[in-house]
Amino acid sequence: MNAETDQTIATVGELLAHALELELESAERYRELADAMQVHNNPDVASLFHRLASYGDAHAREVKQRAAGLELPTIAPWDFKWTCPDAPESACVEDTHYLMNRCQALQLALHNENRGQLFYAGVAGSAPDPDVRFIAAEMAAEEEQHVAMLQEWLARERCRAEEPPEDLDPPNVSE
C-alpha cells in the first residue's frame, strides 16, 4: 500500500481537514476493533486498541485546536486525497483475528502509524504552499514519535511466535 497523496493538498484548511478525518477515523476504527475483541473475549488486545483509540481522540482534539478560527472544507468521504484504500492511520480489518495477541495488534498499529507518517511526510515534501508543507512536516514529526512509542512498546512485549494460532474448537453455528 502506498501512502502518498495522489493529488496535491493545496491549503492549510484542506490539510487540517485531512488530519482531522485521519485521527477521527483512526479512533473510530480502533474503537471498533476494541469492541470486536471485547465481544470475542480478547480483553488484552481490546484494552490496547482502546488506548490507541484514545490517542486518536486526543490528536483529533489537537487538530481541532489548531484549526480554531479556520473553516475546514467539507470533503466527501471518498474525496480524501490518499491513495491507500482508506485513511492511512485506520487499521486494516482483514488483518485482525480474535486470537491475535498484543504483539500482532501493536504491529498492526505500527503499520498504520507508519502510513500516517508517510502521508504527512509526503505532503510536507510535495505541497506547493509552504504553510502546508510546514504544518505537514510538524505532523510528520509527531507521527514519528508515535511510531517510536509503538516500537518501544513492541520491544517491551515479549513477542513469542509460538502462541497457538489455531482454534481447535469448531465454530459456533447460529440462526
Partner: protein
C-alpha cells in the same frame, strides 16, 4: 465432591472458556476417555452468539450406566478462563459439593460461581502449559480433570489421539505431554466411579444428528435434498459423502421450498428420500408436505427443533414444534409424527420413520431437537432391526391400474416411472381412484377416509412408546425429555415411589387405546415437556387420552429439563 445421588452413578464436568481456549475439544476428549475407561457418557455444549471465537462450554457427564440427560448439578467446573462465563451460570448448576478447577493466573473465580460455595482448586495450569512447546492450558486442565475423576492415564491418551488425530504440526504430541503434566499436577482422585462392568466392546461415540443420518441410511434413504440450517446442518454434512458411498446423493437446494419438493420428486421416482431442517425451514415445507400427503408420496423430514417462535433461539433446544408438526398443514392431512427418545434412539426412530413413510405412502416428521442433535453420547451400538417395511410397488400392474384404489388397509399400490402399464399422474388436487381430479363429494370422502384409515389401522407394534415401571404415578413424555424423566423416575423409585413412564415415540397417529392401557390404574398423571404452551398435554387432551386430573409440567427452553426439577414437580403436590 461426591458422585451423583441418582441411581445412575455418574460424574458431571463442565469445561468453560472463551474462543480458542479449546473447551469443547477438551470436552470431546474427556468423553472419549471416559468411554475408553468403560463408562457411558454424554456431552452437550453451549456457546455465545459469536460465530467464531466466542465463549463456550462443554458439559460432560459420564458414569457406569447409560445416560439420557445431564444431571441436576455439576461435580466439577473447569474454568479455562473467566471471560463471559456468567452466560453459562444457569446452565451449570454448582453447589457446595462441587469443585472449581482453575489457574489462579486467569483471575479469581467470578462471584456468580464462587457464590455457589463450591470448593476452589487452583492449579498452576498455565505454567505447565508454558513449559511445553505448543502446550495449551486446556490440555493440562484435561489431564488434571482425568486424574481428579479417577480416569486411567491411558484412556486420556487414547482420547487425545482419537480426537486430535487429524491435527498436524505437533499438536498431538504437545497435547499428550500437557495431559500427562496435568495428570501429574492433580491431587489424589477426588472421585472415582466404580470399575464399570464389562468392556467397551460394541459401544459407539455418536452425535444425535449423525445418529439420525445412520437411521436414514438404514431405513433405505438414498436421496436427500436440503438447505442448511442450525441445528440440522451436521446431519446433512454427515450424510452428503456417506450417501454417495451407498449409491445415493445429497443435493443442496436453493431453499426449503425446493428441498421438500425435490424429495417429493425423487420419492415419486421410487427412491426413499429425506430432508432435514429446523423450525423456520419446516414452516416453508408445509405446502409441499401437504402435497406429499394428498398425492401419497412418501417423504421424511427430520426437524431438529430449536427455540421458537420465528428465528427464536437457534442454538438452543426446545420441544415447541409439536403443534406445527401435528397440525401445520392446511386441510385434513393426516400423517406420521415421531420423536426419538435419546441420541441412540435417533437411529431407530429415523429408520422406522422412513420405513413407515415408505410403507404407508405418507409424510413422516421426525422431531429431534438441538439437545439430541448437537450432543454426543457413549452408548451400546444401536441394534439393527430386521425386515424393513417396504413400499408397496406394483411391478406388473394390471390393465386399468388405479393408483389411488380404495383398499381395505388404505394403502393403494403404487407404480414407479419406468414401469410399463403403470402410467398415472400423481395429483394434489382431490381425485378419484385413477388419479383424475374430482370435486365430487364421494371421491373426497373416500380418499380422505382412505388416507386416514391407512394410518389409523396400521399395526405399529410396541414401538409407539417406551414404557417403564408400573406405579400409580404416571409420567407421560415425548422425545428428548424422556431421558430426564426416566432418570427422575429412577430417583423416585429409589426413594420408594413407584413410577410408570410412558415416553411417546409415535405421536401421530396417537395410539389412544395403547396409551389408555398404559395409563390404566394410574392415579396421578403428569405430562412433561419442554415448551411454553403445554403442547403435548393439549394434544393428548384433544384426543381425550388423558384423565381429567392430569397435570402438566411444561417449561420452555433454553435450559434443559432436569431430573430434579421433574422430581420436585411431581412430588410437590403428592
Amino acid at each position: 465432591m461426591n458422585s451423583d445421588s441418582s441411581s445412575a452413578r455418574s460424574l458431571s464436568v463442565a469445561i468453560t472458556g472463551s474462543g480458542g481456549s479449546g473447551a469443547v475439544t477438551a470436552g470431546l476428549i474427556l468423553l472419549e476417555a471416559a468411554a475408553r475407561a468403560g463408562c457411558y457418557g454424554l456431552l452437550t455444549r453451549s456457546s455465545g452468539p459469536q460465530i467464531r471465537g466466542g465463549e463456550s462450554a462443554a458439559m460432560v457427564r459420564f458414569g457406569v450406566q447409560p445416560l439420557g440427560c445431564m444431571g441436576d448439578r455439576f461435580d466439577l467446573l473447569v474454568g479455562l478462563d473467566w471471560l463471559n462465563v456468567n452466560r453459562f451460570a444457569d446452565e451449570i448448576p454448582l453447589d457446595g459439593e462441587g469443585v472449581i478447577l482453575f489457574d489462579p493466573g486467569v483471575g479469581a473465580v467470578p462471584p456468580a460461581l464462587a457464590g455457589s460455595g463450591a470448593r476452589q482448586l487452583p492449579l498452576p495450569l498455565r505454567e505447565q502449559a508454558a513449559a511445553i512447546g505448543g502446550g495449551r492450558l486446556n490440555m493440562v486442565a484435561l489431564g488434571a480433570v482425568g486424574a481428579i475423576c479417577g480416569l486411567p492415564r491411558e484412556a486420556l491418551a487414547a482420547g487425545v489421539e482419537r480426537v486430535l488425530a487429524d491435527k498436524g504440526g505437533g499438536v498431538l504430541e504437545a497435547s499428550l505431554a500437557c495431559v500427562a503434566a496435568g495428570y501429574a499436577l492433580a491431587p489424589e482422585p477426588l472421585a472415582a466411579l466404580p470399575a464399570p462392568a464389562g468392556g467397551t466392546g460394541g459401544r459407539w461415540n455418536i452425535g444425535g444428528n449423525e445418529a439420525c443420518g445412520v437411521g436414514a441410511l438404514r431405513g433405505g434413504v438414498r436421496f436427500v435434498a436440503a438447505y442448511p440450517i442450525t441445528p440440522a446442518s451436521e446431519m446433512l454434512e454427515w450424510l452428503a459423502p456417506r450417501l454417495e458411498q451407498v449409491g445415493g446423493s445429497l443435493l443442496q437446494a436453493e431453499d426449503e421450498l425446493a428441498s421438500v419438493n425435490m424429495i417429493i420428486g425423487a420419492s415419486f421416482g421410487g427412491v426413499p428420500s429425506l430432508t432435514a431442517t429446523s423450525g423456520p425451514g419446516l414452516s416453508l415445507m408445509l405446502e409441499g408436505l401437504g402435497l406429499a400427503v394428498a398425492s401419497e408420496t412418501p417423504a421424511v423430514v427430520v426437524n431438529v427443533m430449536r427455540g421458537g417462535p420465528s428465528t427464536g433461539i437457534p442454538t438452543k433446544s426446545e420441544q415447541s414444534d409439536l403443534n406445527i408438526a401435528l397440525h401445520g398443514m392446511h386441510g385434513d392431512a393426516p400423517h406420521l409424527v415421531l420423536a426419538p427418545l435419546s441420541i441412540r434412539d435417533c437411529v431407530f426412530t429415523t429408520q422406522w420413520a422412513v420405513e413407515l413413510a415408505e410403507h404407508l405412502q405418507t409424510v413422516a416428521l421426525v422431531l429431534s431437537d438441538q439437545s439430541l442433535g448437537q450432543s454426543r453420547v457413549i452408548t451400546e451400538a444401536p441394534a439393527r432391526t430386521p425386515a424393513p417395511l417396504a413400499r408397496r410397488v406394483e411391478q406388473e400392474p394390471e390393465e386399468g391400474y388405479r393408483r389411488y384404489a380404495l383398499t381395505a388397509d388404505g394403502v393403494s399400490p403404487m407404480t414407479l416411472p419406468g414401469v410399463p402399464g403403470g402410467i398415472y399422474t400423481a395429483d394434489g388436487l382431490e381425485h378419484n381412484e385413477r388419479g383424475t381430479p374430482s370435486s365430487q363429494a364421494a371421491d373426497h370422502q373416500a380418499q380422505l377416509d382412505k388416507r386416514l384409515r391407512k394410518l389409523e389401522g396400521f399395526d405399529y407394534g410396541p414401538a409407539w412408546a417406551e414404557l417403564h415401571g408400573a406405579g400409580a404415578l404416571a409420567i407421560v413424555t415425548w422425545g428428548s425429555t424422556a431421558g430426564a424423566v426416566l432418570e427422575a423416575a429412577g430417583r423416585l423409585e429409589a426413594g420408594g415411589t413407584p413410577v410408570r413412564v410412558i415416553a411417546l415415540r409415535l405421536l401421530a397417529p396417537l395410539r389412544r387405546a395403547a396409551l389408555a392401557e398404559a395409563l390404566a390404574g394410574a392415579e396421578r398423571v403428569w405430562v412433561v415437556e419442554q415448551n411454553h404452551g403445554a403442547q403435548l398435554f393439549r394434544y393428548l387432551h384433544a384426543g381425550q387420552a388423558l384423565p381429567a386430573g392430569a397435570r402438566s409440567l411444561a417449561r420452555p427452553g433454553p435450559l434443559p429439563l432436569r431430573p430434579g426439577e421433574i422430581v420436585a414437580a411431581v412430588t410437590a403436590t403428592a
